[in-house]
């Protein structure tokens, strides 16, 4: 059981939205999809869901093409949030759940469970337009996963939420994965992907620039970060051999270096100069990788 994206290309006229995307998304895992605006994430999702047909290649789930016969095992949270503004939460969710093959009673039971879990049981009889944006998002997330899908596609699930709600929703999504749902999930927020996803893919202008296991991506990236705080002037480090990037902070610097050996040399040079309050060698963050990879393509 896995989602296969085989050499998929999508063109709109002359414009290539997705170019030769080739991915295998393992089952019962959370897969992160990263990319700037217009990178082709939403187009890829729409192709996975069968809303758009690829110009070339194919997408399969468990070896078969996804279409309307499989819609009861697929869940989708679109990037552009949308619910019927005038309908009550109850009618809305029950309708959408029935379209995903649930019966009315189960849908109501599940809805009550999720509203309780999201600490908003009183919303069941409210109209969607009366809810705040964040709460609408909770309802929308419920709509996408109420039928316990095997494959859940979340397009920017946590954007526009306060930190407390992000945690609640994140917990719910993680539970779903632990119960065996395969989740594909896109975000601008690197830390969410870093925290939750084992595999990921960074898209840029329709092409994957990095894809694979998070740990391996980090390891193969090679570069590391050194964070330094000291009582003396650190400006000589800006031109130090092996330093590729410099970021000044309030009390020191964060440097990107090409490898551990650079850090070793650096600390040897630092110690004679005075008191070093902090010297830490860190793994590169996904943000660093993203900026490096996507930025490199820009240049």
């Amino acid at each position: 059981m896995s989602l296969q994206i085989n050499e998929v290309t999508k063109k709109f006229g002359e414009f290539t939205a997705v170019n030769q995307l080739d991915l295998t998304i393992p089952e019962k895992e959370m897969f992160g999809f990263l990319g700037g605006n217009g990178a082709g994430k939403t187009t890829t999702f729409r192709m996975i869901l069968g809303l758009l047909d690829p110009t070339k290649g194919e997408v399969t789930w468990n070896g078969t093409k996804i279409d309307y016969t499989t819609s009861s095992v697929i869940g989708y949270l679109p990037e552009e949030r949308g619910l019927y503004p005038k309908l009550k939460v109850r009618d809305q969710i029950v309708y959408l759940a029935r379209l995903r093959g649930m019966n009315k009673r189960d849908a109501l039971k599940e809805l009550e469970y999720w509203l309780d879990r999201f600490k908003v049981p009183e919303y069941i009889d409210k109209r969607v337009e009366e809810l705040s944006k964040g709460n609408q998002q909770k309802i929308q997330l419920i709509a996408s996963m109420i039928h316990k899908p095997e494959l859940l596609i979340l397009d920017e699930p946590f954007s526009g939420l306060d930190p407390v709600n992000v945690e609640i929703l994140k917990k719910a999504v993680i539970d779903l994965r632990d119960n065996g749902t395969t989740i594909v999930f896109s975000s601008h927020r690197m830390e969410h992907v870093e925290e939750m996803c084992e595999h990921l893919c960074i898209m840029h202008k329709g092409s994957p620039v990095v894809a694979g296991k998070l740990k391996e991506i980090k390891r193969s990236f090679g570069k590391k970060n050194v964070s330094i705080k000291a009582d003396f002037d650190l400006s000589f480090l800006d031109t130090y051999a092996g330093v590729t990037k410099v970021k000044n902070t309030m009390e020191g610097k964060v440097l990107q270096v090409t490898g551990e050996d650079v850090a070793e040399n650096m600390i040897r040079d630092l110690v004679p100069k005075g008191f070093v309050r902090k010297f830490e060698l860190e793994e590169p963050s996904l943000t660093d990788i993203f900026i490096e990879k996507v930025g490199a393509v820009y240049e």
Binding site: F12, G13, R46, L49, G50, L51, L52, D53, T55, Y68, S71, I74, Y76, P78, E80, R81, G82, L83, Y84, P85, K86, L87, D91, Y95, L96, R98, L99, R100, A143, S144
Partner: protein
């Protein structure tokens, strides 16, 4: 349950529960009750409206009394009184006691002539009645001068027998035609409003789903074609519900008024002798027209991205409906005109114009069948194209310039 039925029942039930639907239905039913009781209402308001006209007789022939009788015979709500001169009459007019006054003078060549003076001469009813009575009086006097017997007078006044007979065997008689015209007129209005209103409702419904972005979830679980036709059927059911309520209200109140209606203008409208086949055709053509325009409206609604653009987008469609209606209205007077026959086969015009012909004339069955077949084919084709536009349209956001966006939508839904 099948997804088609889920969407259909959702469309129907959620629409029927909305306040705007309930309110508009109630208002419309109230309006129907008022209209169907119109003749009674008019009578109730018209009661004390006995109009008085003063007459100044300057002929020395003592015309007042015979004239009074003649006026009574023409209009019993009009009473006249005799005054001496214009000054007195004007005083009465200014005091609002009379609506005007008639001056009867001697005329050498014609015997006598009349002049009617009033503040407002817009009410031609009064002057017409006065003229009619005066004419009668004059022929009476002339007859007396000629010393005609009563029989001779009667003979003089009887119009010749005149009949119109249609040569075609099944053609409707003049009387039937007048009755049919009334019914067709009313039903044309119903078709016109029905098609326009419910097709617009479809376009709004689709556009609302699209602009609220719920569409993307919907099309990931229901095929767009299923969704589109389920919605069209749902609104069709809604319209039938509403129509049944309207007709029910109208029928009940008309039935109650049947006695008072027989003499009123309703008999002119052919309600007294309602033609069942005309009504059945009205339902068939209204439904077909609805399906045709609803399919069109659904695709148009699917390409807009802002709800404000809906009206602009469907305006070409609205124009088609209006044109059909106008042609039908012109055709009411002359339903056998060749342009009516021709346009009745154009699918977008068929629902109104073919119905007009069916209601007014004896149309060979094959012509009706042909026009219905043409409509069904058009609906089918529109359905296929529409589903494609719909499929692409709902994923498309941005400016909505009609033709361009339809082209884009088609491109988006292409297989490759």
């Amino acid at each position: 349950m099948n997804k088609f039925w889920i969407v259909l029942s959702h469309t129907y039930l959620s629409k029927i529960k909305t306040k705007s639907f309930i309110i508009s239905t109630v208002i419309m039913m109230a309006l129907i009750l008022v209209l169907s009781n119109m003749s009674r209402l008019i009578e109730a308001f018209d009661d004390d409206d006995k109009q008085k006209v003063a007459v100044i007789d300057q002929t020395e022939d003592r015309l007042f009394d015979p004239y009074k009788n003649a006026v009574k015979g023409v209009n019993k709500d009009l009473s006249i009184l005799s005054v001496q001169d214009e000054k007195e009459a004007e005083k009465l007019v200014n005091a609002d006691d009379i609506v005007g006054y008639l001056l009867i003078e001697k005329d050498d060549s014609l015997g006598f002539k009349g002049t009617y003076k009033a503040n407002q001469i817009s009410d031609s009813m009064v002057s017409n009645d006065l003229l009619l009575a005066l004419t009668q009086l004059k022929s009476l006097i002339t007859a007396n001068e000629l010393k005609l017997t009563e029989q001779q007078i009667a003979k003089l006044n009887t119009p010749p027998a005149f009949k119109t007979i249609a040569l075609e065997k099944n053609a409707k008689t003049e009387e039937d035609l007048n009755q049919a015209r009334g019914l067709v007129y009313v039903l044309l209005f119903v078709i016109y409003f029905g098609v326009l209103m419910y097709a617009t409702m479809i376009a709004m419904e689709v556009a609302t789903e699209k602009t609220s972005r719920v569409m993307e979830i919907l099309i990931s679980s229901v095929p767009p074609v299923t969704q589109m036709f389920a919605k069209i059927m749902g609104i069709a059911l809604l319209s039938l519900t509403q129509m049944i309520l309207f007709f029910g209200a109208g029928y009940l109140s008309i039935k109650q008024n049947l006695a008072s209606m027989d003499e009123g203008f309703f008999s002119f409208f052919g309600f007294g002798n309602t033609n069942i086949s005309t009504i059945i055709y009205a339902i068939i053509f209204a439904l077909l027209g609805y399906f045709l325009y609803a399919t069109l409206a659904a695709c148009l609604g699917s390409v807009v991205s802002k709800i404000e653009d809906v009206q602009q987008m469907i305006s070409p469609m609205t124009m088609l409906v209006v044109i059909a209606f106008l042609i039908a209205m012109f055709g009411l007077g002359n339903p056998s005109a060749s342009y009516i026959t021709f346009t009745s086969f154009i699918p977008f015009f068929t629902p109104m114009i073919m119905f007009l012909r069916v209601g007014m004339l004896e149309v060979p069955f094959w012509e009706i069948a042909l026009s219905i077949a043409l409509m069904l084919i058009t609906i089918f084709l529109l359905g296929i194209i529409g589903a494609k536009i719909y499929r692409g349209g709902v994923l498309m956001y941005g400016s909505s310039k009609s033709l361009k966006s339809i082209k884009n939508a088609l491109q988006l839904s292409k297989k490759n």
